[in-house]
Amino acid sequence: MSAALFVVDNLTVTLPTSSGPVDVVKNVSFTVDRDETVGIVGESGSGKSMTALAVLGLLPRGARTSGSVKLDGAELLGRSDRELRSVRGNAISMVFQDPLSSLNPYYTVGLQISEMYRTHRGGSRTAARKVAIEALERVHIPDAARRVDHYPHQFSGGMRQRVMIAMALCCSPSLLIADEPTTALDVTVQAQILELLAELQATTGAGLMFITHDLAVISSIARRVLVMRSGDPVEYGTAEQVFSDPRHEYTRMLLDAVPRIDDEVAS
């Protein structure tokens, strides 16, 4: 049996601040297997997004990292920007919370997907355009052959997030990092995007690292869960264990704070 697809071991991220260096991620370890979804959950300031940025070498200037981040056995920490550029969007892709600020408003979505594809895979414009249309079809955007020539503003929020996912998957990454991908969406649209992510994962076999503040979302999508708080890994286990038998007081407090829709409530 080969090692896990993605192994984060003892990752620490230190940011310089006016009052000295601060560890925003402290000794975090977790693994993501092929075909597996791992959820990272925490409140604001927990370090969950910093963990994702560290993986991709996208940390703010002056940040220091220690520990190890391995994809398919190859170390990613400390690699040059040039080397990482061939990893980002290729072997590891990322989907962010706000698709409107991650897409360029001046270019059609087709051009943006093609550009991404050609950067990593090369080939002609015509071939890349075909890839873009197929990518849009895969995320169930109706009338993809026509929509490929539309601009980001011509899509609704949910459709834009589908475009982002199409772009993230066009190079068949082995790991997809989704950072609050449904947080800005309406609840009905959120349900559709979660379903789409699960479906795409089943067909591509990619590992999924899903970052969110929403415990209910994590419970529905992740097999394993890492709970973070102010940079510290609080609890790490299977979703079933974390939700049914949390070991840590903070996890319990967090679970108790979630308003339930199906509970009996006093009138």
Binding site: V187, T188, S220, E240, F243, L255, P259, R260
Partner: protein
């Protein structure tokens, strides 16, 4: 006693179409919406983005004038109220907004922010501003020693408490909360919801609670109106709307809410209970 009546309110916004030869066209954000709020109760208006729920809240708060229809408060038609009448209305109806940092003046101290509603009406509180502010801060769970601090010196949850304290400064009969807890972390959200409910028990005012989060709405409201595309598609008691929804859209909305795996959740609670 009926405190607020919103009667057949419609709001159209004029938009410019695309292109050089574009014509103006009207977009109906709120379409023939009516509801009532009783004294002491919480009515939640729930809907997705673009449903018209915030526009409805703004009309009820007299921050927007409806195109047609009327707003009646305490038996008085306030739809076109001006001057003294409007000031009297503002004394009774206050708003808490979603983002505390953009609704609190960053250059004012808490004391100045909280007493502003009184200042505008030329009232000096009995016992002075300082004591008045400190008492309100204590009521909303803030340290009264921090009354000379600025909004930026508080966390999001604390800043929202300042917004709530300001709303309570005039002893209103109705507080309109427009997504007042949606920007907060879940643990903070639970505390602020608890605070809102406690304040209502203490003072007996009403809430119109605008939110997109159905689970939150279920916690705080007695009655619920569901909005979609500018219209109220369903309204009724909380248990009716959540327990036995009639409208298709309400059903879709309820089904889409993500839930913590109920089996795991039950197991945890059982363990913790005993």
């Amino acid at each position: 006693m009926t405190l607020l009546e919103v009667k057949s309110v419609t709001k159209e916004f004029v938009t410019r179409g695309e292109g050089a030869m574009a014509r103006k066209s009207a977009f109906t954000a709120v379409d023939d919406v009516s509801f009532e709020v009783e004294l002491g109760e919480t009515l939640a208006i729930v809907g997705e983005s673009g449903s018209g729920k915030s526009t409805t809240a703004r009309i009820a708060a007299r921050l927007l004038e409806p195109t047609t229809g009327s707003v009646v408060f305490d038996g008085q038609d306030v739809t076109k109220a001006r001057g003294k009448d409007l000031a009297a209305f503002r004394n009774n109806v206050q708003v808490v907004f979603q983002d505390p940092f953009s609704s609190l003046n960053p250059r004012y101290t808490v004391e100045r922010i909280v007493t502003a509603p009184l200042t505008y009406q030329g009232i000096t509180p009995k016992g002075g501003r300082r004591a008045f502010t400190q008492e309100l801060m204590e009521r909303v769970g803030l340290n009264p020693d921090h009354c000379r601090r600025y909004p930026a010196q508080f966390s999001g949850g604390q800043a929202q408490r300042i917004g709530i304290a300001r709303a309570l400064a005039v002893n209103p009969k109705l507080v309109i909360c427009d997504e007042a807890v949606s920007a907060l972390d879940v643990s903070i959200q639970a505390q602020v919801l608890e605070l809102l409910m406690r304040l209502q028990r203490e003072s007996g005012f009403s809430y119109v609670f605008i939110a997109h989060d159905l689970a939150v709405v279920r916690q705080i409201s007695q009655r619920v109106a569901v909005m979609s595309r500018g219209r109220i598609v369903e309204s009724g008691s909380r248990d009716q709307v959540f327990g036995d929804p009639q409208d298709e859209y309400t059903k879709t909305l309820l089904a889409a809410v993500p839930r913590i795996n109920p089996e795991w959740d039950a197991r945890r609670r059982q363990k913790e209970a005993g």
